[in-house]
Symmetry: C2
Subunit: 201 residues, 2 copies
């Protein structure tokens, strides 16, 4: 493709394609933009990228990404040993829930969801680690906040079963009409959830 | 924004935003995708990015990006000293013209276009270097392939004037209806060019 670019430039364009959503043309545009306008920024990116890939691992308690042994929430004096665990699929979900400021417990990040066809079973998403934590005691409530997709629901059911066996209360976050949403634009599936999950007023 | 991500992860997300067209959400997605699925690719990108920013400079003859003193075309035994120069705005344009296989001369890459309001005058786009090359002799024809924009046209006129003073033939690539295009979908400006540039059949 890039026979008229110098070998190093072609290599850069090719390397940029590891980024999700970046194809040949975008990679070209990125390479030229960095070379022309922001070499310092690109050198900083190169360094941070290297450090991050070398040093970021998973929190030993909640599995989220961190360069430390324990993430900030798990290392927190009260939250790290809270008796309520909120289970999410991804580190971004932790951020979303933290922004509500309504949850003061700790998290457990699955880094995925059950998907047997892709070879992702309970151990691939750390449910064996979660089981140990539940067995160790000190956990009174599990809130499952996996995504409302088929895989997310299956994962949720599996976790609910784990909790039932250990007599730990498990709940699922509510699914229904988003606040500010208008009924006529809500899909039938969501509306069905909203109806079946109705509460007394 | 990312108070719940570890410092290094936040830094990575921030650093990825130097890429053109990448905002906060995309940067987050890229960071997680690399950490989860392609650390080797990211490390390779880090290395190539560093090498490219450190070693890629401009060809001393045509100004295109290369890590060598002369780019491949300028270093070519016959093309590098060809008597025809094609002037383009960007290295990508060289690639586009090379793909037609119809041009066997050498190039001169402006790395921009005249834009006095942005402080981009003749010297910023290397027209002083081009003048030296024209003065040195050996150039019989200059083909101006700048973009058909206001700035591209202004740049083209400036170069035509440089050539006229030195009695070197200058031409502009044709603008008109793209091959395969249908008249009814062509904008009026292009059609105007097509009409005024008509040729006998």
């Amino acid at each position: 493709m890039s026979k008229s670019f110098s070998p190093l430039l072609s290599e850069l364009i090719e390397a940029l394609r590891v980024l999700p959503g970046v194809g040949g043309k975008s990679a070209q545009r990125m390479a030229f933009s960095l070379l022309e306008r922001n070499r310092d920024g690109a050198l900083r990116l190169s360094k941070v990228l290297h450090d991050a890939m070398e040093h970021i691992g998973n929190c030993t308690q909640c599995r989220t990404f961190t360069e430390k042994n324990l993430c900030d929430i798990c290392a927190h004096p009260t939250r790290g040993s809270a008796d309520t665990i909120c289970i999410v699929e991804a580190p971004q979900d932790v951020l979303a829930i933290e922004q509500t400021s309504q949850f003061k417990g700790r998290y457990f990040v699955l880094m995925g969801h059950l998907s047997p066809l892709d070879g992702i079973g309970p151990e691939q998403i750390g449910l064996d680690v979660l089981a140990e934590q539940l067995d160790a005691g000190g956990v009174n409530e599990v809130i499952v906040a996996t995504n409302p997709t088929v895989e997310g629901e299956a994962t949720s059911h599996y976790i609910a079963e784990m909790c039932r066996k250990r007599s730990i209360s498990a709940s699922r976050i509510a699914h229904g009409v988003p606040v500010g949403g208008e009924l006529e634009y809500i899909d039938g599936n969501t509306l069905g959830h909203a109806l079946s999950g109705r509460r007394g007023i």
